[in-house]
Symmetry: C2
Subunit: 287 residues, 2 copies
Amino acid sequence: MRDRLARDAGLVQDELDRVIATLPPGDLRDAMGYAVRGGKRLRAFLVMESARLHGMSDDAALPVAAAVEALHAYSLVHDDLPAMDDDDLRRGQPTVHVTWTEATAILAGDALQTLAFQMLADPRVGDAATRIALVAALARASGAAGMVWGQALDIAAESAGTPLDLDQITELQGGKTGALIRFSAVAGALIAGRDPAPMDRYATALGLAFQIADDILDVEGYETVTGKRVGKDADAGKATFVSLMGLDGARAEARRLVTVGIDALADYGPAAGNLHELARFVIERDT
Amino acid sequence: MRDRLARDAGLVQDELDRVIATLPPGDLRDAMGYAVRGGKRLRAFLVMESARLHGMSDDAALPVAAAVEALHAYSLVHDDLPAMDDDDLRRGQPTVHVTWTEATAILAGDALQTLAFQMLADPRVGDAATRIALVAALARASGAAGMVWGQALDIAAESAGTPLDLDQITELQGGKTGALIRFSAVAGALIAGRDPAPMDRYATALGLAFQIADDILDVEGYETVTGKRVGKDADAGKATFVSLMGLDGARAEARRLVTVGIDALADYGPAAGNLHELARFVIERDT
């Protein structure tokens, strides 16, 4: 699985670099290229692997995988802004607004979102019906009823000062990080015109396990390894899965969710082996 | 023409309100609804009128017209941010970040862009091929080679402190406001599957005339009428069409462009009468 993950990450990076190179030169393009570098590429791998599982070629999945990573990168660039989470470190590097300016970070994020939708229109992905279905699905997952909704809820909770309970934090996460992870896993089924329900169940569990693991890393991780500030949530008095369930409780829940996710793929048999491994990987990673 | 403009503005407002009402309640949704209120709706009218000119129904054009206005609104919300143009007044009302917070303004802008692409996926617009062509065209017009590129150029010119020359400012405007105006005019031809070239020539002239008129209003307008700060560009020592051509020169160029735009529609005959009037309107308006 890790070989595939690394190989897909390379393919997606090449695709992003190729498309960004077609844009007019300048700070905006440089900041966009900078923002899409690095990262674990879990979302891209989910797109590529779910496409393969449904008998689709890497060539069809690649623009979709690159689109998801462009969209994810836009959300990180905006999330790091001083008016949002005010982070100066991301993936071990200074954030976009630190390297350039806030204005460039706002515009680079805006243009990366546009680029994501542009990439879904790539004819390699499939016929027009497939591509427009992906556009609609990505818009639902990432907009004011999905990812951005989760981010707004997160900001509102922080400024209200009242920590969220477990139901609320699960709902928030389902938007903020869950919606895009679900889109990524479902994309392969959509490209193939197949029922996306099992992939959606898998990704719902995976997304939640991923967020719990993130909260554990925020407590246990090392900044030099994770490439971002640690202890930030605890310092901010923010409710996390760890603060609500305890460290042992959070670890047990993450393991349970991995089992739920793997069970959802039962009908695919051993062909889904890489996705089984990915589910285990997201709770065992150290970055 | 003005009756049609007002009627289309009402239809588009209803469509935007209807779609935004389906989103989860909260500040984010409220800010989005606030951001899409008011405005001249020139872009929406261009979509509706160009669709009618090509024999398409209002029902097919409406989601596209609403999408263009959502996209335009996102660009204004982000453009008004403190890190960008730092405007506290827009369409006669406090800007989104003044009414809510910077974080909400960033997220509301992000979600309005997403909404624009979501609206283009509406089945009323036409078959999947038509819709995906519109997605690709809007992405090209609004992204890092279109509108956002123009905004980045504008910011770069301001911070460099060296005023632009006429060629540079024409190129900048072609991105910042021109690209979306051209998309709007071309959309009707795309919906109908017809050659968009004449509409593109019309809109290129219209967009430039519109920007020249804006620069004239910035010098001559009244804040109470235009609903935004006037004299801002001159105060900032920014090059404008007026500073480069003089007031009389700018007026003459705007009139010349209106003729160029109207001539581009010659093959449509009198059916294009509303678009002729619109071209005259954009240089005679007082807001």
